[in-house]
């Protein structure tokens, strides 16, 4: 659905994006992660036709964005990290304007406008001037604008910045709903916990390049040579556990305290099961034993060199 091939963008003497290639299939929520200045915004602006790549091409829904921008933009919804709106319009007029600008079929526009107004919970403000809305309402209206034409692709540049917790929750739910409708979403953020909750794939960017990209579990698996394990037990078995773990060839850096501890394990799932059986066989009353799931944040910290942070 989104194909970025050999993208390069230069600004004067700076190479902002260098040889960026990404392929995002339909229905994915792809999180673009990276510090400020990594090139996330530039990538998104090129993908939606706001910037022309120095080299390479961006194809959205089979349309080359640079060659046929208006055609490609029918399939694209764009949301920036700022929520600029036409303050002198009414809420419904604003959405009606963008519905027409995106060339939504005339017969569908009224229903679409009313539907979006309900979706972003602005029914009571339908006929109010935008300048009278609160910041949160304007942000919701901005989100409504981005999806008024039911885009196949949604490009979101730091959409959660400046949103209050409730609005973030609403945004997350909206994105999940859009994904369930088949919308492909490319979202950039440096708030990693935000992305982790709903992204299906990630791409880690640094200095204009992608360090890693793919489905979260694949990227995690590829990077995870040793998995983090957690153990909890009942009774005074610390020394027994310590002895068994130290002796095990796949265990590293075990840290045990009273009743719980963590260690790194480099073996297979069968070997994990064997270790657990060994501990239980040695009389350890294990009450919890499992793998600590690696977060996107952990992964990012592992992969990133933080050169521009």
């Amino acid at each position: 659905m989104i194909e970025l091939t050999g993208l390069r963008k230069e600004y004067d003497n700076l190479v902002a994006i260098e040889d960026l290639t990404l392929s995002i299939p339909q229905g994915e929520i792809f999180g673009l992660i990276g510090p400020n200045g990594a090139g996330k915004t530039t990538t998104i602006r090129m993908a939606c036709g706001l910037l022309t790549p120095t080299m390479g091409k961006a194809v959205v829904d089979g349309v080359d964005v640079a060659r046929e921008p208006e055609k490609a933009q029918r399939s694209i919804g764009y949301l920036a990290d700022f929520f600029a709106v036409y303050e002198d319009l009414k809420v419904w007029e604003y959405l009606d304007y963008f519905a027409h600008a995106y060339k939504v079929e005339e017969s569908q526009i009224d229903a679409r406008v009313n539907g979006i107004i309900a979706q972003v919970s602005l029914e009571v403000k339908r006929d109010a001037l935008i300048r009278g809305l609160s910041r949160g309402m304007k942000q919701r209206l901005g989100i409504g604008r981005a999806i008024i034409h039911q885009p196949k692709v949604l490009l979101l540049d730091e959409p959660a910045s400046g949103l209050d917790p409730k609005a973030r929750l609403d945004l997350r739910n909206l994105l999940r709903w859009l994904q369930s409708q088949g919308t492909t979403i490319l979202i950039s953020s440096h708030i990693l916990t935000e992305l982790e909750r709903f992204c299906t794939s990630i791409g880690i960017m640094e200095k204009g390049r992608t360090v890693r990209s793919g489905r979260i579990e694949e990227v995690t698996a590829a990077e995870q040579l040793k998995r983090d394990m957690r153990i909890a037990w009942v009774g005074d078995s610390t020394s027994v556990i310590q002895t068994r773990l130290t002796a095990h060839p796949h265990v590293a850096s075990a840290q045990l305290a009273d009743g719980s501890g963590t260690f790194q394990f480099g073996g297979t799932d069968d070997e994990v099961a064997a270790l657990l059986a060994d501990l239980v066989g040695a009389g350890v009353r294990v009450k919890a034993f499992g793998e600590v799931k690696q977060t996107v944040e952990d992964l990012y910290m592992k992969l990133s060199k933080h050169e521009v942070m």
Partner: protein, 528 residues
């Protein structure tokens, strides 16, 4: 193409600016103003009438007939006066407002950060253009609409024909649309937070177009038709002072002012539309007014306009010293301005120039590339300008004191101008490769500083005699060639020395540009 009244951008402006309360208020103000102007016109006529009757009572004779005539025509004269005032006000207001509203259009959107959202819609540049052109000044269009019935009524009662009234409105509308296009292009060229600069420049544009009125008595009377009020003046037979009997010519034939106005607005407007359509949806850094071939075409068009509007006395015995050398020199001077403007329009953005440089190093592109340096295209534009000069002079040869040697003289003049302009344009191109902010503006000012310094040097050199002045002018500026008395190729030696010096400078600048482009790009954050 969407119909303009259904154009989303137009509808947005109409909705925002013509809410019922405001529309009623605007309508009421217009009616009130019309009533006040009507009263003023009636009062004026009454004063004239009273004076005429006073004169008739005291002096008899012609005054009695005059007073009787005035009394008989009083009604229609008052209406006519009202109609002319209303047309004048509508014309002035619509053209001025259209220019200023459009001049803040794109800049305003950039300031409010709404521009990106509009650019990512499926609206084509033409649709955005039409929406903004008609939508930005929608309040004034509405005001004119409110005044329309009153104006028509006054005009018909004043004895004007329907055709005259229609022509007057066409004249106003054409001027407003043309100036609106100028304003829109201006606002496209300005970065955000430059609205003040935009307004000042718009004021300059209005002053310039209004000032073209002065061309009515020049060799190019048709250029006066650029003034928004020229067509209106002519249509309504307003006082033209000493220019009352002046008519513009097109290829030597007298044509109505309105026709020339429409032709000029249409042709120049088409170029502006072309530039807007190419660039309206582009990022600010990626704006390139015209493609290379379009730039050459524009240079040819501008030259063509001058030859088309040139007025040469039909009877050779009546003209005073208008010979081919003067026309040739004048056209070369005009081409200095045209070539500089074309050079500015052909500057290549840093990013594209770097790509061209790399491709050129690989042998994948040539000098005449779309993304290359502008000088080959400047040279081509100069060749086209010269060809048109030859054509123009030959076309007018029967009406001029024609000298075949003019062609040789003009060739050298144009060569010198081309070399200086190339140097200046390449210097500004070099500025765009440096880290200075607004390099084109700064480069322009640095060049202005250079020419001011050259003027000072010439003045100082002038102390030691005229020869030194000629030398300084010839070496430092292209002004040395603008002497219509020069025969054939007998220019002062300093002109040729200056030519060689500037060629050397061009080589230095090209090396400087090459060095800049040769630097390896740093992979670094874009600052997103």
């Amino acid at each position: 193409m969407l119909k303009f009244w259904r154009n989303p951008e137009f509808v947005r402006h109409a909705r925002a600016e013509l809410r019922p309360a405001r529309a009623v208020m605007v309508g009421a103000i217009v009616v009130l103003l019309c009533a006040m102007i009507a009263l003023a016109c009636w009062s004026d006529r009454q004063t004239i009438l009273a004076n005429a009757e006073y004169s008739a009572q005291h002096y008899d004779g012609e005054w009695t007939a005059y007073a009787a005539g005035s009394r008989a025509e009083d009604g229609s004269r008052t209406w006519l006066l009202l109609c002319k005032w209303l047309f004048g006000l509508q014309g002035g207001l619509l053209t001025l407002w259209s220019l200023f509203a459009c001049a803040q259009s794109v800049t305003g959107e950039r300031d409010r950060k709404t521009w990106d959202f509009q650019r990512t819609t499926s609206l084509r540049p033409t649709e955005i253009l039409i929406g903004k052109l008609l939508g930005e000044p929608v309040v004034v269009y509405f005001a004119v609409l409110c005044a329309l019935p009153i104006t028509l009524m006054a005009g018909l009662a004043g004895g004007l024909s329907t055709l005259t009234l229609l022509s007057a409105y066409i004249s106003i509308l054409a001027g407003a649309l043309f100036l609106g296009l100028c304003g829109l292009w201006l606002s496209t060229l300005l970065e955000s937070r430059s609205r003040g600069v935009g307004l000042i420049t718009a004021l300059g544009v209005y002053g310039f177009t209004a000032g073209t009125f002065g061309f009515a008595t020049s060799w190019f009377p048709g250029l006066a038709a650029f003034s928004p009020l020229t067509g209106l003046h002519a249509v309504l037979d307003l006082s033209f002072n000493e220019r009352k009997n002046v008519t513009p010519v097109l290829f030597g034939h007298s044509v109505p002012w309105l026709l020339v106005s429409l032709l000029l607005y249409l042709s120049f407007g088409a170029w502006i539309v072309l530039m807007l359509v190419r660039n309206l949806k582009r990022d600010y850094e990626e704006i390139r007014p015209l493609s290379r071939w379009q730039a050459v075409g524009c240079a040819a068009f501008l030259n063509f306009v001058f030859y088309a509007l040139l007025q040469v006395p039909a009877d050779r015995s009546t003209h005073s010293g208008l010979d081919s050398r003067i026309i040739g020199t004048f056209m070369v001077a005009i081409n200095a301005v045209i070539l500089f403007a074309i050079g500015l329009a052909s500057l290549t953005p840093h990013e594209r120039l770097r790509v061209w440089w790399r491709k050129r190093a690989e042998g994948a592109t040539g000098l005449f590339s779309e993304d290359g340096l502008p000088w080959p295209w400047l040279a081509l534009s100069a060749v086209v300008a010269y060809a048109l000069l030859v054509w123009g002079l030959l076309a007018w040869r029967l009406s001029l004191d024609f000298h075949t040697r003019t062609f040789g003289t003009a060739a050298v003049q144009l060569l010198v101008v081309l070399v200086f302009i190339t140097r200046d344009v390449l210097f500004i191109q070099w500025c765009t490769l440096t880290r200075m902010r607004q390099p084109v503006v700064k480069g322009f000012f640095l060049l202005a500083l250079y020419y001011a310094a050259a003027g000072v040097v010439t003045a100082i050199a002038g102390i030691s005699g005229e020869a030194a002045t000629v030398s300084a002018l010839g070496i430092l500026t292209p002004i040395g060639v603008f002497n219509p008395q020069i025969e054939w190729l007998h220019f002062p030696a300093s002109v040729y020395e200056g030519l060689a010096l500037q060629a050397g400078l061009i080589a230095v600048i090209v090396v400087g540009i090459s060095n800049r482009l040769g630097r390896v790009g740093i992979v670094a954050p874009s600052g997103d």
